[in-house]
Amino acid sequence: MMRSVKPPVLPIRAIAHTVIEVADMDRALAFYGERLGLRVPLESWPDGDELCLTCPSGQRLVLRQSDSPRTLPDSGVHQAYRAGPAAIGRIVQSLAADSIAVERYREDRPAEQDDNCYFSDPDGNRIQLIAQPQIAEPGLFGIDHTAVQASDMEWIEDFYGAKLGLSVEHRVGWNTADYVRARAWGEGKEDMAPGTRRWDERYRDIPGGKPGQGRRVPRPNVQVFYRMGDAVLGIFMALRHEQEPPPHQAKGTPRVAYWTDAAALDRTAEILADARIAALGPVRHGAKSPISSSLYFRDPCGNFVELCAEASS
């Protein structure tokens, strides 16, 4: 007797590209191109202010210059790439040679429990490498998933689930097992990735209370993971309030873009209009662009999203 009516599923196939902010384009180009093996900039990229690097998978990493890159290095925000074990070994060796810290945190999502490797680019964008034995390329192969943060997980579930029709693959922070496990982190027994755990000061703000009255307890941080075709989006609850872009701004960075079809762009534009959520597009790109058209919008917590249609769809 479930009463909710599921919306049509948004037919997302994969991550098309991610746009990250960097302070120094040349430095970032050298890091992602020479060190991590992504291919040279794509000249036909529709936005002239951005540099587009291509993965062997066909997915793209887009660099946009910002004097103050929004990287949120202490949060759960990151980009995860697939690579072969040999490539990961070479990358880790290269990073170590330049004294760039490489971490091997644990995660909550079952698919990421083990065999992870984390580091940051020169601007603080956190990178996760996921080993896939079948990959033979010498550098990064493709984008596995991205993770963003949000100040209201109820709004997030309403937006991505109830409005866009995405399916939850995994939730963290909803059951006792997660809380029991968090105690191991609190006791120093598990080294968990940033954004997955937090210390709460229980009932810190009781009216009339005294400073420091709260009992500190280790807790799992709330997370939700959506799977869409070959793409995964992880959303971590923000552990502090960050300035969000204004609600009327539909296009911005950092941004995650997904491949879908032209009909889905039109249908999503209608859904967003009905919900009075600002959107831009569908915007048609030039004939040389690898993307036929894009729909730009932001989720209720300020994360920018782009849906892309290929020329043939």
Binding site: D152, E154, T176, N221, M237
Partner: protein, 158 residues
Amino acid sequence: MAVVESLSHSGICVHDLKQAEDFYCGILGATVHSRVNFKTQDALKGRSVHTSLMLSDYLFAIMLSEDWMSIPPMELLRGENRVRHAFCVPRKRFGEIVDSLSENKVAFEGPVTHPVSGPFGESVYFRDPTGNFLEVVWRRDEATAYSEVQALGHGGAG
């Protein structure tokens, strides 16, 4: 000495908040009033993790237990020496609850018919996914605006 007047709300501790929400909303027809600790602001205040649910005008919270609780054997459908929440339904809708339990494969005991001399008509007894004891009952005095609690010894079966 203060005298309490009525039950304001109650809390039910659970091991899985999502599963409990689906159970109370999907099977008993509750609606979500609010969730706590799914916003940055709640985490900063160190609040408990719970969802407030409404069943008609009755407010109760399903509270996520941060440690494992001792749960009586699941084959025990009607608890003894443990809290049991009993929810009322009108007699004409009692069958819907029984059907809902059956359709959703929730094991239950009953319907149990109570003595005609008492205020209760029939009850079904079952448990939520965590194992909390629950009961749904229809009352013989449902048409009466107010009924005083009857003297003990009415012989109710529940």
